[in-house]
């Protein structure tokens, strides 16, 4: 049991309507751990932005099939497609990331046709562009950079890959470039570059053993594939690191805003917490936390205990409609308990991050898979802080204790 806290922190209200209306907002990144509704949040924000007159493109990573269809994302051509939004004063385009294609495009854009063909035929490149851990994150950033650089849109909203940890989005590209530019790969591939002797003298016998084992386990062919791939990259654009750094810098530029999405569950909020800390270390602007899929009760007029007792009394008394009414009271009791738990988790987040603005978004009864569903969600995301049926502010699941 928690005791009421006299010094309870109140989370500031999150003004997403203002963020979208602000013409200087050019990029919104929706991040959070997997399964919290990042894709739907991004799509709902994009729809709202188009309806508010912005020319917006939303980059989704892994949308649910029906949502993708409703956005017209049936073809995987890695290009934005216009979504018909009847009555919108702006314009909405949507696209789904195809990481292999994005990688291929980077290669094509930076080399001669001959060389590009050579790289794409390289088995190591094929593995890297389709299955390497971090490629999806890296390519999401790459695509974001391309969309931002094009003047076709005044707002880019990006969903982040469904990794377990929200931090992967920020870490993976650098990890990958460090790896490709790293000492180890240069040493291992040294024979192909400089005749090999120099590298060996530098690192000594331990490395020789390792190198021998690696070629034994993985096969000499893989090493030579990697070696020719890295050599080709070097001539292409001076290495991966520069490229990744440039994309990363984009996220720090003015006009970029981060929205962290979490479900009211301990794991998701813990991830959100890590992410918030990280953003502040990196000097990246966080707008706030969207607490998605909450269960606020429709009335505060009846506590869980009283509803439960009434359900019991009614069920005992019997009569017409008693079962249904008792059931409805139990639904309410359960909901009050659930909401209290969600509010407690939200409070815990806020006491650790009192400066972070919060917006709660009630769970829909079913999956969101059409424009109407997105509109309902957008209304919950953008609606006025105090304008709710129960009067509970939208930054909370339950009213604050007085």
């Amino acid at each position: 049991m928690t005791t009421p806290n006299r010094h309870e922190h109140r989370a500031p209200a999150l003004d997403l309507a203002g963020l979208i209306a602000d013409r200087s907002t050019r990029i919104i990144v929706c991040c959070g751990s997997g399964g919290v509704g990042k894709t739907t949040t991004s799509a709902a924000l994009a729809l709202a932005a188009a309806e508010a007159g912005r020319t917006v493109v939303v980059l989704t990573i892994d949308p649910a099939r029906r949502l993708a269809q409703s956005l017209g994302l049936v073809e995987l051509d890695n290009e934005p497609r216009q979504v018909e939004v009847p009555g919108a004063s702006g314009r909405l385009d949507a696209m789904m990331l195809d990481m292999k294609r994005t990688f291929d495009d980077v290669v094509t854009a930076h080399s001669t046709p001959d060389r590009a063909e050579q790289i794409m035929a390289n088995p190591f490149y094929q593995a890297l562009s389709s299955s390497f851990a971090g490629t999806q994150e890296y390519m999401a950033m790459e695509k974001l950079g391309q969309l931002r650089a094009s003047d076709r849109w005044d707002l880019v909203i990006v969903d982040t890959p469904p990794s377990r940890s929200a931090l992967d989005f920020l870490d993976a590209p650098n990890r990958m470039s460090r790896f490709l530019d790293g000492t180890m790969i240069r040493l291992l591939t040294a024979p192909a570059r400089a005749g090999g002797r120099a590298g060996v003298r530098l690192v000594g016998a331990g490395f020789m053993i390792f190198s021998r084992i690696i070629s034994k386990i993985l096969g000499g062919q893989l090493l030579s594939d990697i070696s020719s791939f890295v050599a080709a990259l070097d001539t292409m654009f001076g290495g991966f690191r520069e490229r990744a750094t440039a994309t990363y810098e984009l996220l720090r530029r003015p006009g970029t805003s981060f929205v962290v999405v979490a479900a009211p569950e301990p794991d998701a909020l813990r991830e959100a917490s890590y992410f918030v800390d990280r953003l502040s270390t990196e000097g990246m602007p966080l707008v706030g936390l969207v607490l998605n899929r909450t269960h606020p009760p429709a009335t505060m007029g009846l506590s869980a205990t009283r509803a439960e007792a009434a359900a019991e009394a009614i069920a005992e008394a019997g009569g017409t409609g008693s079962k249904l009414t008792a059931g409805a009271l139990r639904v309410h009791a359960e909901r009050m308990v659930l909401a209290a738990r969600e509010q407690r988790l939200a409070d815990r987040f806020t006491s650790a991050h009192p400066e972070v603005a919060v917006r709660t978004v009630p769970a829909a009864a079913g999956d969101v898979h059409d424009l109407d569903g997105l509109r309902t969600m957008a209304a919950a995301l953008l609606g006025d802080e105090a304008d709710t049926p129960t009067g509970t502010p939208r930054s909370r699941v339950l009213p604050a204790r007085t």
Partner: protein, 330 residues
């Protein structure tokens, strides 16, 4: 001394992220360990989720007892550390324990597993196979091994190790190793169980994974529907309520009869919550049909109220034990 009631000894548990596969894997391990049996629960993703569930300190790379079950059974847990498994492997095939330490310092192990993601999976599944087939005095050390495996999106690649290393190694120790692993994973002593929720995406991913696993010749076990909530409203009125045909006025007489000081607003709010509850339930129930059509033995686990603790795990284990018996009998 106990006979082996279940022919499956290697249980691989997967599911979309957020469906609670670690919880299910842990409960399954408890279920299998009942009546004096010995079970190993293996974590493959380095998240220390098992330690959190059993409320123990982070697991080292060694088999530690995390629970005792009825009849003197026990569950041991192992969190596989890929780096340590790699060094173990080098030692086994190349007698390189000391050089291994130097390699670790150089970050060489990270490197090797990074350039060949398949290598990582071979090491993990290799450890699983070793535990499944380990014998002492002619008897299996573990009656069953439960693997908290990677999510559905990755599971077929993870288990289909021969396919993964085919491009890497056509012969040699790693090839021999992966062939041995594959023989165990494809045998009838293995079952891949899929955890889902009654939501669109997880059910879809479950269907996709079943198709992929089947195509790869990997044995599919049960579908576990996790966090399934029962309806709180009478069955007869669910569809009517879900259609929105319930108003506060319908509830007022019974509320009044119970002497509750009701306002129309309160009655309307209760009706609105009941409608939403019914809609959610109807949507979930529709997915139940989809899950049934997957044609696998299916078990539903209830949603726990509040956070999961060891007591919850034992409750879920009871359900799973019943399911295993009925699935084995069928």
């Amino acid at each position: 001394m106990s006979p082996e009631p279940f022919s499956v000894r290697c249980h691989v548990v997967t599911g979309k992220g957020g469906t609670g596969k670690t919880t299910v894997a842990a409960s399954l391990a408890l279920a299998l360990a009942a009546d004096g049996r010995h079970v190993l629960l293996i974590e493959t993703e380095g998240r220390q989720g098992i330690a959190q569930l059993f409320d123990t300190p982070p697991l080292p790379y060694e088999e530690r007892r995390v629970a005792v079950t009825r009849g003197g059974g026990e569950v041991k847990a192992l969190a596989i550390d890929v780096e340590a498994a790699f060094l173990e492997y080098l030692d086994m095939f190349y007698n390189l324990k000391r050089a291994g330490r130097a390699l670790r310092k150089m970050g060489a192990v990270d490197f090797a597993t990074a350039i060949a993601p398949g290598l990582r999976d071979v090491l993990l599944t290799g450890k699983v196979k070793e535990a499944v087939t380990r014998r002492r005095d002619g008897r299996h050390v573990y009656d069953a091994v439960v693997v908290d495996a990677p999510p559905t999106g990755r599971i077929t690649r993870f288990l289909n190790v021969t396919g993964e290393v085919a491009g890497l190694a056509r012969s040699g120790p790693i090839r021999t190793q992966s062939d041995g692993v594959m023989a165990v994973l494809r045998s009838p002593q293995t079952a891949v169980h899929l955890v889902t929720l009654l939501e669109d995406m997880p059910v879809q991913e479950t269907a996709d994974a079943i198709a992929d696993l089947t195509a790869a010749g990997l044995p599919v076990g049960s579908v576990v529907v996790n966090m399934a909530a029962g309806p709180l409203l009478p069955a007869a009125s669910l569809s009517r309520t879900a259609a929105g045909r319930l108003t506060g006025a319908d509830l007022v007489p019974a509320l009044d009869a119970a002497g509750l000081p009701t306002s129309p607003e309160l009655a309307d709010a209760l009706a609105a919550e009941a409608v939403e509850h019914a809609q959610r339930w109807v949507a979930q129930d529709a997915l139940r049909g989809v899950v049934e059509r997957l044609g696998r033995p299916t078990v539903e686990l209830p949603q726990a109220i509040g956070p999961i603790d060891v007591g919850c795990l034992f409750e879920l284990a009871d359900r799973l034990e019943d399911h295993l018996r009925s699935a084995a009998a069928a």
